[in-house]
Every structure is written in C-alpha cells, then in structure tokens.
C-alpha cells in the first residue's frame, strides 16, 4: 500500500497553548483508522490539519508525496473531504442544495454544475441513504439525518480520503451500525478513512488502525489489539480500570488470553 497522507513533527499552538506536539502518522491508501483521545486533546485540530484547513506551526503534511502547502485548495478538496461535528446553516437550504456544495472544487465560478456533477450528487445522496430527504430543509432534520447529509456532502467531493470528526455523535445504536457499515463499504471502494471516535467498542471491531492522542504525549498508533490495552487506555484517558465497562471487559479478555 502507498502512503496517502503523512504527518511528521506537526506542532500546533492555540492562543499560546500547545495543542499538538510532534504529531506524526502515516495513512495508507485504503486504510480505515480511528483517532481516539480525551476531550480537548486535539483530535479535531489534527483532523483540520490533515484536511489542510489549519496550517501547523511547524512540521510537515505530505499529501501523496507533495507538501500540502504547495497544493491548491481545490486540488486538496478533490482529494480530502472533512466531515466536521457541526454544520449550522443560516438559511433554509434543502438537503440537495447542501450536498451540491460538495461539487464546489469541480465547478468554476461562472460555470454551473454539469451532468457529471449532478450524477456525483445523486450518488452521494444515495450512498449516505438520504435521497429521500433531498427536498427537506436541512435545519429541520434530526441529528442523525444531519450526520448522514454531512457525509453525503463529503462524498459529493469524490474524495480519496474521508476525515470524520466524531461521526457517531447524535446517532442511536442502529444508526451507528449503519454508519459503520457505510464506512466499511467506502473503505472497500478504496476510500481511505480516518475518524475521530469516542465509542471504543466501535473502534475495537471496525478499524484497522488506532491513533491515540494523549495529553503531553506523542501520538501513538497501532492495531486495536495493541492500542486498546487497559493499561494504555487507563493512562491515556485517566480512567480507573475498574470503573468503565470497556476497561473491565478488556482486562478480562487479556486475562483469559494469558491463561
């Protein structure tokens, strides 16, 4: 597999406070990775840097062998789509109008959307299973429906890399499973996925790589088996091992395997 995105020595400060220090990772093409860590540790910042929305104070972001700062915004947008946590619209845009914005990197200022753009929008609506909502007002949708529309917007960009910031937020367990199925499907189609996740149960079974951000520590990465060890999670999340079902469950699993 070739490396799609490489971050090395990335440092980022926000209002004099160091958010990321020496963050480094490689994303292989077609991989499905989860980014985990405590609240406020810098997961969203890392995703924004990976999407080219934020520039790191120092360090390198390399997209398919080229430094990110040498690539035009439109070219980045045709390669990477970021699905953020929040999308608030000031006016009553319909779902279709929202998803059509995903074609912005392909459309010139004076040229309207063409046939290929309309097809891409239809495909994105269909993939995210929001075709039936296309004429609904976005602001009137439920949290789960909005989440799927945001993903459709990202898919309309026809990206190689899909970055998702807490995509299971606001979803009930049924919709979480559907979302995970969709991510698997997209990965199988060759789209590389990096999602920041809070639900470690979902991470355990569904992602090939786990990136762990801990306060004051360098970014660590490995397989779910390596990264979801109770000792690592206890330290990274500052959580007593006997207080959370996942830690208890995994401790029991490791004990059984050891026996």
């Amino acid at each position: 597999m070739s490396c799609l995105l490489r971050l090395s020595g990335v440092h980022f400060d926000y209002q004099g406070h160091s958010v990321l220090r020496q963050a480094a990772f490689d994303l292989e093409e077609g991989s499905c990775s989860a980014l985990i860590g405590t609240n406020g540790v810098g997961k969203t910042t890392l995703l924004r840097i990976a999407a080219g929305v934020l520039r790191p104070a120092s360090g390198n972001v390399i997209l398919r062998g080229r430094p990110m700062e040498t690539i035009s915004l439109k070219e980045i947008a045709r390669t990477i789509a970021l699905v953020p946590q929040q999308l608030e619209l000031p006016f009553e845009f319909t779902v279709q109008q929202v998803v059509e914005q995903g074609r912005t990197p392909y459309i010139g200022m004076l040229r309207g959307p063409g046939r290929s753009d309309r097809l891409a929008v239809d495909r994105a609506l269909d993939l995210a299973d929001v075709s039936s909502l296309r004429h609904r007002i976005f602001n009137e949708l439920s949290g789960g429906e909005r989440q799927r529309v945001k993903i459709a917007l990202g898919l309309a960009q026809e990206p190689r890399l899909l970055l998702l910031d807490e995509p299971t937020q606001n979803l009930d367990i049924g919709r979480q499973v559907e979302l995970i199925d969709l991510l698997h499907f997209l990965r199988d189609q060759g789209i590389t996925i990096l999602a920041s996740m809070h639900d470690l149960h979902l991470v355990d079974k569904n992602f090939s790589t786990v990136l762990l951000l801990s306060p004051g520590q360098p970014l660590a990465s490995g397989s779910p088996e390596q990264m979801l060890k109770p000792s690592i999670l206890e330290h990274a999340f500052q959580c007593p091992p006997d207080r959370h079902p996942l830690l208890i469950e995994r401790a029991e699993l490791y004990r059984r395997e050891a026996r």
Partner: protein, 370 residues
Amino acid sequence: MAIEIATVSGSSVLEAASPPGRHQGRGAEGGKSRMRPWLLIVLLAVALVVVTLVSIATGAVRISPRVLFAAMFGGHPLTETQRLILFHIRLPRVLAAGVVGWALSLAGLLFQGLFRNPIADPYVTGSSGGAIFGACIGIFFFSQWSVFGFGATGLLAFAGSAATMAVVYSLARSAGKTNVVTLLLAGFAISAMFTNTSYFFEILDKNGDSNRILISWLHGDIGIPAWTELAISGALLGVASLASLPLMRTLNTLALGDEYAQQLGIRIEAARVYIILSGSLLTAIAVSLGGMISFAGLIVPHVGRLLLGPDHVRLLPVTALAGAIFLILADTLARTIIAPSEVPVGILMAFIGGPFFLYLLRKMKRSYTV
C-alpha cells in the same frame, strides 16, 4: 490500493457499487414548495416595466399611460409641458429610484451572505453611514477633485462604505461565526458616528450650498439626478451586478461556514474582500443617488428567500428586479402621499422597514450569543 474516484467527466467507482442498508419509508419527501425562478424573473421584469410606467404617469400633473404609450410609439407627440415633466423630472427620478432599489437590494443580498445573517443590510451594517461620511468629505474638502473622470465624492463614498464594512466584519466575526449582537452594535455605533459627523459638516458649511445636498442625503431623498449622473450610476450598477454574478455560488458555499468553505476549495479571505468591494460599490451607487435609505436591502432579499429559497444564484436576478420595483413604488408613494409636499423615501422606508427589522430580530432571537 489506488482506485481513481475523483473523476469529473467519467464515472466514479462508487457508481457501480451498491451501498449498505437502505432505509425504507424513513424521512419522506417533503420541504417547502418554491416558485420556479424563471417564471418569477419574467413576472418581475414585466412588473418593473408596468410599475415604471405607472410611476411616470403619477404626480401633480398626470400623464396617462395611454399618452405615454402613444408618445413612445410615435402615435401622438407629447406637449412641451408633458415632455419637460417626463424627461427632466419624472423619468430621471423613477430611473434613479430603480437604480437605488436594485443596488441596495443586491448589496443586502451580498452582505447577508457574507455575514451568514438575514439582518445584515447596508444600513444596519453601517455601510451606508460610511458612504455618507466619505461623500461628505468629498463634498466639503475635495469637491474639485476627480480620478479618471470619477468625482471625489463618489470615490470617497465607495471608500467609506468599504472601510466601514471591513471594520464591522472584523468586529462581528469570531471563530467562523457572526456574533449578531456585535454586528448590530458595531453597525449602530458606526452609523451613528458617521451620520452625526455628517451633521457636524452641515454646521460648518457657511454658504449652505452643500447643506441642501447633505440634508436630502441624510433623509434619504431621491432627487432628480442629471442624465449624466444617472448614466454613470447605471453603468456602474451594471459593472457591480456583473461582478456579483460569480460571487453567488461562493455565497452558497460560505453559508456552510468558513471551515467548510475553505475545505471545499474557497479562498476565504479573497472571497470576503471581493464581496465587500462589490457590496460597497453598490452601496456607494445607491447613496450617491438617494442618500441614506434604510432597510430596502433587508426586506427585498428576505422576501426573495421566502419565494425561491436561499440559493443565491437564483436570488440575484430576483432580488435586483424586486428591489428596483419596491423602491420605485415606495418613491412614488413618498412623492404623492401628502402631495403637493413630498416625504423623503428614506423616512417612508424607515416606517416600513423598522417593524420588519424587529420582526426578523424576534424570529431569530435564538441565535443571539449573549
């Protein structure tokens, strides 16, 4: 695994694949039914012609639309008095009202898109105040100056409007969002400051010549412009409207927020500067013809959105045409409601626009950030 999916003309690999888990019967089709844009544009264009003719016909000396038609098609020449009234009084004024309404409404559309907020218009954001202030400096200090044929008054009105917008925008925006309260307070403070500074110029004026112009500007009075002034304003309006065309898609993308727009390939800072310059040029055109006319740029885009939805590409022609119609009607009312006296249209618009503004504020009160 490298699979080409980012194709424009060809089909993506996603096309053939079948996604997981379909929802049956969930999230039914719905939404608001909206008018067809082309139908509305045609209706508005016809309405603009009709309203213009009716407005020309209306006044102390009535010239019936039938006479106008007959004169237009050479069937029946106008009398000398009618010709004088038509070409030297009514027609320039009606056209000026149309230009002002077009410009203010389009500027309102641009500013509302820029701020992601339906209450932003040239008056509320202080852009009109900045233009008046710039124009005052031009009148009082640089009345003889011109650059490439453009008088200092018009150029300084544009500069005042653009500078004010830049200041209000930088104050009101924080973390990719517009703080409504800051927007209102900054716009109010700058409007009050510049309007009162303009009154100060009025006191300084010894011979009173500039005074009359200033007072009519501050009241929002569409006077009777010279044909050359009207021609320059019309040409600039054409330029500003054409310059606004490519911005409409950008405004749609900006509605998603700065972060989204940037990651969709929009150069945010360049887009903002371009929008502010276009909006300021439109404001300066309106101010140079009609002075401080409040709320036209607020009401017209809002009504357009009710009819067509928020797509700026569709809204541009509709807003421009509807703005022209709206102000021609308002100005006709202003000059006939207490005839033979006239009410400045700016005062009339304040009566109409004030309650509408309060209605919008009440509607969107949940978005206050205090």
